[in-house]
């Protein structure tokens, strides 16, 4: 009976998972980058991915996002995903508003304006991204990510290269947006403060000669 109950719980947890990752290996040529690693993230859960530089965090994120398909293993992804890169990665030749509406075709004008208002960019709809400060460009990048109501949000060191004050503001903004929209979130960080503030759980990547793995105690 206990075994059946445990199995049922595991099945429920799997059913609630927004993304399930099961990677056997990832190589760049002859060099192994990722070893066997598996985890899942439930709806509304925020997971921090930490580890030393060059361990393969960004590679793992790219595989999860579907950008890199050259790996052995299986990923079960949701329908809607969003990504926030280290750099804002906007369309500099389109207006602030168009940066939302062109990416999310179903987004109405008023929804886009409301989203910009949420991240503190009201009144800047018609500007080009190059006319915004770096902090404002990051806000726009966040607005774009949340505008599509993603089931899975992926962020690759979203607060890197920002001054302390701006990073703090962005962290609070991200915290609020995650709390309101509740996507499953996976983000890479080197800051324990960011991990403690945003994450429910932390995955630690550890380099091995056969490719990076997640340390058992944290996975």
């Amino acid at each position: 009976m206990v075994f059946v109950a445990a199995l049922g719980k595991a099945r429920d947890a799997l059913a609630k998972s927004v993304i399930t990752v099961s990677i056997d290996s990832k190589r760049f040529g002859a060099s192994p980058v990722l070893g066997a690693l598996a985890f899942s993230i439930a709806a509304g859960e925020t997971v921090a991915l930490v580890g030393p530089s060059g361990v393969g965090k960004t590679t793992l994120l790219r595989i999860i996002a579907g950008i890199d398909s050259d790996f052995e293993g299986q990923i079960v992804r949701p329908q809607t995903m969003a990504i926030v890169f280290q750099e804002p990665t906007l369309l500099p030749w389109r207006s602030v508003l168009a940066n939302l509406t062109l990416i999310h075709k179903g987004l109405t004008h008023s929804e886009a304006v409301h989203m910009l208002d949420d991240v503190g960019l009201s009144g800047k709809e018609q500007l080009f991204p190059g006319q915004l400060s770096l902090g404002q460009q990051r806000r726009l990048s966040l607005a774009r990510a949340f505008a599509g109501r993603p089931e899975l949000l992926i962020m690759d060191e979203p607060f890197v290269s920002l001054d302390r004050e701006t990073a703090e503001t962005m962290l609070t903004l991200t915290e609020n947006l995650i709390a309101r929209h509740r996507p499953a979130t996976l983000f890479v960080t080197h800051s324990s403060d960011e991990a403690n503030r945003l994450a429910n759980r932390t995955l630690v990547m550890k380099p091995l000669p056969t490719g990076a793995v997640l340390t058992p105690s944290d996975a």
Partner: protein, 249 residues
């Protein structure tokens, strides 16, 4: 004296001044007429309608060849810039076509296809495609990979990717290819007309060359230069300003 608006006019005026001095020194209208010697001939060609007929024929060929060369060259350059494998295969072809003299391609097209309008346009297009592809290939190589990743994650359709992500990045390269393209294409069109058409500026220049009428050669040549300058000022430059306005904002 170095105003951005005034300088082009002063530059043009000095070129005309140089022409006048050379014509006065030559003192033979049969060899080099002055600008005012051309005016009555120009007026006569305009009033008879012949100038517009031949200008129109050349312009149509230029437009066709330009559109085809830009479309094919941009597509080819983009594919070669994006795929190193395809580039390795096609690069030697590009080198061959870049070094093939325009005259050879024109003659071969006329021999293989015949003295037709299609042969003329194909010959001009084939001459220009490799140049456009070479310029756009550099743009293809410089495309931002993060924007590709963005398009992939947000599952953007190919039309959205092309219109809002790829073409805006290629715009400076396309503009450079277009501006040099127009200048080269109309010159090749004139050779094509000179060799095998019975209409157009090239045909008229051929005719007046046989009659040793330098004034009429200049009338037709300058008429088309004027048309191309107008296209440069009122079409190409405004388009370039429009697609690059975000850089200056």
């Amino acid at each position: 004296m170095d105003s951005p608006r005034l300088t082009p006019f002063l530059s043009m005026a000095s070129l005309i001044g140089l022409w006048i001095v050379a014509a006065l020194l030559t003192d033979d209208a049969q060899i080099l007429p002055t600008p005012w010697d051309l005016l009555p001939r120009f007026g006569a060609e305009m009033s008879s309608g012949e100038l517009f007929e031949h200008l129109g024929a050349t312009l149509l060929r230029v437009l066709w060849a330009f559109a085809l060369a830009m479309t094919l060259g941009t597509g080819l350059g983009l594919i070669m810039g994006r795929s190193e494998r395809i580039n390795r295969w096609l690069d030697p072809w590009l080198v061959v076509f870049l070094n093939l003299p325009a005259l050879v391609l024109i003659v071969l097209c006329y021999l293989w296809i015949g003295l037709t309008e299609a042969a003329a346009i194909i010959a001009v297009t084939l001459n220009k495609v490799p140049n456009v592809a070479t310029v756009v290939r550099e743009g293809g190589r410089a495309l931002n990979t993060n924007l590709d990743a963005l398009a992939q994650v947000y599952r953007l359709g190919w039309r959205t990717r092309l219109q809002h992500i790829i073409l805006p990045q290629l715009a400076p390269f396309i503009a450079a290819a277009a501006r040099s393209g127009v200048a080269v294409i109309w010159k090749i069109v004139l050779v094509v007309e000179f060799l095998g058409r019975s209409s157009g500026i090239g045909f008229q220049i051929h005719l007046y060359f046989q009659l040793f009428d330098v004034a009429m050669v200049l009338v037709y040549a300058f008429s088309f230069i004027c048309v191309m300058l107008l296209a440069e000022w009122f079409l190409l430059q405004p388009w370039e300003r429009r697609v690059t306005r975000w850089r200056k904002a």
